[in-house]
Amino acid sequence: MPNRVAIIGVGCTPAQPTTPYLSFKELMFQEAERAYLDAGIEASEVESFVTCAEDLNEGLSIFDEYTPDQLGAVQKPMHTLTQDGLHGIADAVMQIQSGLVELVVVEAHSKASNILTPEWILDYAVDPVWNRPLGFNPHAIAGLEMNVFLHETGITPDQCAHVTAKNRTNALRNPLAAYPARTAPGDVADSPYAFYPLRETEMARTADGCVVVVLASDDRARAGKSQPVWVRGVGFANDSSTLESRDWIRAEYCRVAAQMAYRQAGIHNPGRDIHLFEVDDTYAYKELQHLVALGLYSRPGDAGRAVASGVTKPNGETPVNVSGGALGMGLTLEATGLYRVAELVAQLRKQAGARQLPHAKVALAQSWRGVPTTSGAVVVLSSE
């Protein structure tokens, strides 16, 4: 990647089922202070700001009007993306690589607990003329996808249960996680179906939280006091999301986004060149589908066999979602991808405490925007 870009600071509040003690502005201010201190900068030095937020999740239209004060962005260039935070990282990278600015802040948060009717917001994303009148819960789209995904790949429900068990157990070592629990695959198999073949314990629950990330140009990062983590590649893509004709088997948005990021990072064999993966697991089977799309397995069925045999556990050959993923940390709306970045930065800086992996030098984060979308992003980071 020409004109290298680094992450030089992160502020990250523990994900929580609720956060009644702080407003979203106070939450953002707190994490901005933490990130700027970590980066060794003053807010006044930041040249551009990106926030990732969805108006319907906030309950406020034109949400970018509500973000400058608490980030130190008053009278400065700033904008809001209606995307996951990883798109915000890609945005910041482009701003810095273009030579426009040297110091950019990316923020995303979740006040999911403030949304009393989350299913209605999902319903709002479904086509109003020919899908919405059918009246089914939009999470059913995940049930539809999982069913044909298992049918076509040979991946089993038990292998999917291993994803939940692994991630929620991993979360016990992560103080940022909202839903840690010692979980066995059998516990998942005993839980009721929500949207057959999808079980209740295979669906990530929402959580509140906030992440602020500071990105800097090569020069700026080298001159600074903090330990930089380098952005080696970014990619993002959408597929055609029409429910009647979409690709239910392959997460093409993820494959295209990954190819884009790999090209920049010079990665030819992701399974060998990348040491740590944080991938979307909004629903347990999604982790496996995304790992296939990231090019880790030549045969899709291998993704199921890998998780069941422990290859993707923290001490396995290819650790996946050491943080606990969305199943263990909680689904923090637009901040979901940035929580993964926070994990990778901690790992690559060797600050991950009880879950520190000894040899991780190159790491990948991937996000998906949830049902009914086919929108995804990939970021590759490295310690050198």
Binding site: E26, F29, S44, G59, D69, N114, I115, T117, W120, I121
Partner: protein
């Protein structure tokens, strides 16, 4: 080719045609609900409104007293330092006479939203409210006003615990020049 625009013959459509179902339509009423966390600053602000008082936060660095209160100073980018009660009187900074209601009805008596610079807060620091008990023709920038509160049992911890701001008779101040801490 003449210069005349071509007339395309369309299909005329009457309201009755819609009612008879000659045209397909679809309707959807979203049922989205929120309950926002007020947080520290606005939580305290609302609690004090219930008590019939206005409270502000002060930043020691820029010496501003900010209302509505906030836990951070957007100019200095630091935490604010202390709570201070301010007056429930102030000066009209700006106002509008609204002859069209929220649901687009024509109004004979206008609604009067106004920004009121609060006494005890820093110049230019005001709250958004409405004016009442005033002849619309006599509203002026710089007019001195006072909060008219709901009776205590009716207050709920809401900005509407103040019914409106009403003129303090015979007083006008030039906006931004009142003696206030800077």
């Amino acid at each position: 080719m003449s210069g005349e625009p071509r007339t395309v013959r369309g299909t005329p459509l009457e309201l009755a045609d819609l009612k008879k179902g000659k045209v397909f339509t679809t309707a959807y009423v979203p049922k989205i609900q929120y309950a926002w966390d007020t947080g520290v600053a606005i939580g305290r602000y609302l609690e004090e409104l219930k008590n019939g008082r206005l409270i502000a936060r002060r930043c020691q660095r820029c010496q501003r007293t900010m209302v509505p209160p906030r836990m951070f100073c957007e100019r200095c980018f630091r935490s604010t330092d202390e709570w201070v009660y301010v007056q429930d009187t102030g000066t009209v900074n700006t106002f509008s006479l609204c002859y069209v209601s929220w649901d687009v009805r024509r109004l004979k008596t206008p609604e009067i939203p106004a920004v009121i610079e609060i006494d005890g807060a820093s110049p230019g620091m005001g709250i958004m409210h409405v004016l009442g008990k005033v002849n619309p023709k006599q509203v002026r920038v710089g007019m001195r006003v006072r909060a008219v509160w709901k009776p205590p049992p009716q207050r709920t911890g809401s900005i509407t615990d103040i019914l409106y701001f009403a003129p303090i008779k015979g007083k006008t101040t030039k906006v931004g020049t009142a003696k206030k801490p800077r």
